[in-house]
């Protein structure tokens, strides 16, 4: 149990004294070091309440909460909060302070020296690819996306091991949100913080989480599992309904092309003879073949073009339209396949290195087998 970073045991919260329904009834969850746990559920499920109990913005009515083995209910709440990164949906940048001073908030509270703060701000500017010119501006002068990034950077200022994020990308439009999510995933890959992330958006949960806790009214944990498992094997009807339609497609979005076995396709080289090329296509029952010279993908040639000449070298290979890499998701591969005329996607890994092909059948097998 050494790797448990946050542990909630039989935690409950009642807001009204006279026996109204509990916001959180009896909740127990363990979160491992370095993992992103997403609390997701309909409004009123107590996900935000649960998160706020971890930094004691909400005091639990009963139960125990441990962060890194320490009972936080015995800690000074103000000290506790300084050691936990906190991001809220409305961001909450202090409007009367420059961006620089906003980021420096917690370092100043815990008494860092000016020089150390300056160095840390430089680091964060680099990590979050912030424009240095923004540092002396006020929050009102920034765009929504910029503010959001500053909000996350500020929460990371003293490099806390634990971060609480309440719909941190909720206040921006979908395009910016996706960019921010991608950037944060990238940053998290390096930092490996323990993150408690609250959202009502199941797609965001699937994208960001190492494990998802699906909560029902009153803080009831319906399922606590990695996204892939939740999509493949929803624990009950509530989860099934909450996850919604397109479970198969959502699962495809979780798997990278590099993670599955890729099929072999017809391959010729520039110096293949026409007969050899036609034989290769026939072997796979294809009308075309990929032209690969020393591992490098040149394009494709088809039956009519090869038939007219004596050698493949006399034909100019045409570029592939359905082309994916090992880093593409199966969902992207599927999209490439259905929009290509040949219904096949060609896989190249690292630039132009040819690996093989993906077919509709191969991808559909991936969904069915995993079930």
């Amino acid at each position: 149990m050494l790797d448990v970073a946050i542990s909630l045991k039989n935690v409950s919260k009642r807001f009204s004294q006279n026996g109204g329904p509990a916001a959180v009834g009896d909740l127990s969850l363990d979160m491992r070091k370095g993992e992103t746990v997403v609390l997701v559920g309909p409004s009123g499920c107590g996900k935000t309440t649960t998160m706020k109990m971890i930094n004691r913005l909400v005091e639990p009515s009963s139960g125990t909460i441990e962060v890194d083995g320490t009972d936080i209910l015995k800690q000074n709440p103000v000290e506790l909060r300084r050691g936990i990164g906190y991001v809220i949906q409305s961001i909450g940048l202090l409007p009367h302070r420059s961006i620089r001073d906003n980021i420096a908030t917690v370092p100043k509270l815990v008494g860092w020296k000016d020089e150390r703060i300056k160095g840390r701000i430089d680091e964060l500017v680099e990590i979050f690819e912030l424009d240095r010119g923004l540092l002396d501006r006020y929050p009102a002068e920034l765009s929504g996306g910029q503010r959001q990034r500053v909000g996350v950077a500020r929460a990371l200022a003293v490099d806390p091991p634990v971060m609480l994020m309440d719909e941190p990308f909720g206040a921006v439009d979908p395009i910016v949100r996706e960019r921010l999510q991608d950037q944060f995933l990238h940053i998290q890959q390096e930092l490996r913080k323990t993150i408690v992330f609250v959202t009502h958006d199941i797609d965001e949960a699937i994208k960001m989480a190492d494990r998802i806790a699906i909560l029902n009214t009153g803080g009831v944990v319906e399922q606590y599992a990695p996204p892939e498992e939740i999509l493949r094997a929803p624990a009950n009807d509530f989860v099934k309904q909450f996850v919604g339609v397109e479970r198969g497609l959502k699962r495809l979005a979780l798997t990278k092309v590099a993670q599955i076995d890729i099929e072999e396709g017809p391959v010729v080289t520039s110096d293949s003879s026409s007969e050899a090329a036609l034989r290769e296509m026939e072997r796979f029952d294809f009308h075309w073949a990929a032209v690969v010279d020393e591992g490098e993908l040149k394009g494709w040639v088809d039956v009519p073009s090869v038939k007219r000449v004596g050698s493949v070298s006399e034909v100019e290979p045409r570029p592939f339209s359905a082309y994916v890499t090992g880093e593409s998701t199966l969902r992207e591969a599927l999209d490439a396949i259905v929009t290509s005329r040949t219904h096949v996607a060609v896989v190249a890994i690292e630039g132009q290195r040819y690996k093989g092909i993906l077919t509709l059948e191969r991808i559909s097998r991936e969904i069915v087998d995993g079930r």
Binding site: N55, V78, L80, R81, G83, I91, L93, H96, L109, Y138
Partner: protein, 223 residues
């Protein structure tokens, strides 16, 4: 003298009246400054108390509201029974009229602090005290300053009333001018207190702008 000649006889203003005009002008400023200062020192803790404990807001506004509605002249006369024709009497009257305006300004300024700033600040580990001084009061400053401006300008006008007990700064000229049918004294007394009010108001606006640079974001984006 009465009813003849120009409304303001400038040769008298720059001649015989000048020394007293200057000293009364400073007396007017002094009374205003002291009344607003004392008013603020009383209002500030009361307003913080009312902001923190909603229950006391009602009684505080009721009492200060009552003070505000008493006619200034009546209060003045009443207080001379206790403190005579003194500076104390004048200051008590002037101060009591600033309380309602100042307390309301501070409380509504604090109420107007955006909730997300407060929540984020709490979540980052500000103590209640740090939150008040470093987040809530700075953000409430524009509204607090607006209250301060109204209180100050109102006081500048009210000071003239205290002329009835021999204080009153520039009000002395107005009162004496009426009694002597001397339009020059009435007009110059009124004119100077008007100028004082406008100048002080502008000064307070400039001070507020300097203290709240984040509210004038446009100036920065242009640069």
């Amino acid at each position: 003298m009465a009813g003849s000649g120009p409304i303001i006889d400038w040769s008298r203003v720059f001649g015989t009246l000048r020394p007293e005009l200057i000293s009364r002008f400073f007396e007017h400023m002094q009374l205003t400054f002291l009344a607003v200062l004392i008013g603020f020192l009383i209002s500030f803790p009361l307003a913080i108390l009312a902001y923190r404990h909603r229950k006391v807001l009602g009684p505080i506004t009721a009492v200060t509201g009552l003070l505000y509605t008493i006619p200034s002249l009546a209060l003045l006369v009443l207080l001379t029974q206790l403190f005579g024709l003194s500076m104390t009497t004048a200051l008590i009257v002037l101060t009591s009229y600033t309380l309602l305006i100042l307390i309301r300004g501070i409380v509504s300024g604090l109420n107007g602090v955006p909730n997300d700033a407060r929540e984020a600040a709490q979540g980052m580990g500000y103590s209640d005290r740090q939150m008040l001084w470093r987040v809530e009061l700075p953000l409430a400053l524009p509204v607090i300053m607006a209250g301060l401006r109204i209180a100050t300008v109102t006081t500048i006008g009210l000071v003239t009333v205290t002329a009835f007990i021999g204080k009153g700064g520039l009000g002395i000229f107005i009162l004496r001018g009426f009694n002597q049918f001397d339009s020059t004294q009435v007009m110059i007394g009124g004119l100077l207190s008007l100028i004082l009010a406008v100048v002080v108001d502008i000064a307070l606006v400039l001070a507020e702008r300097a203290a709240t640079p984040w509210t004038s974001k446009r100036a920065r984006t242009v640069i």
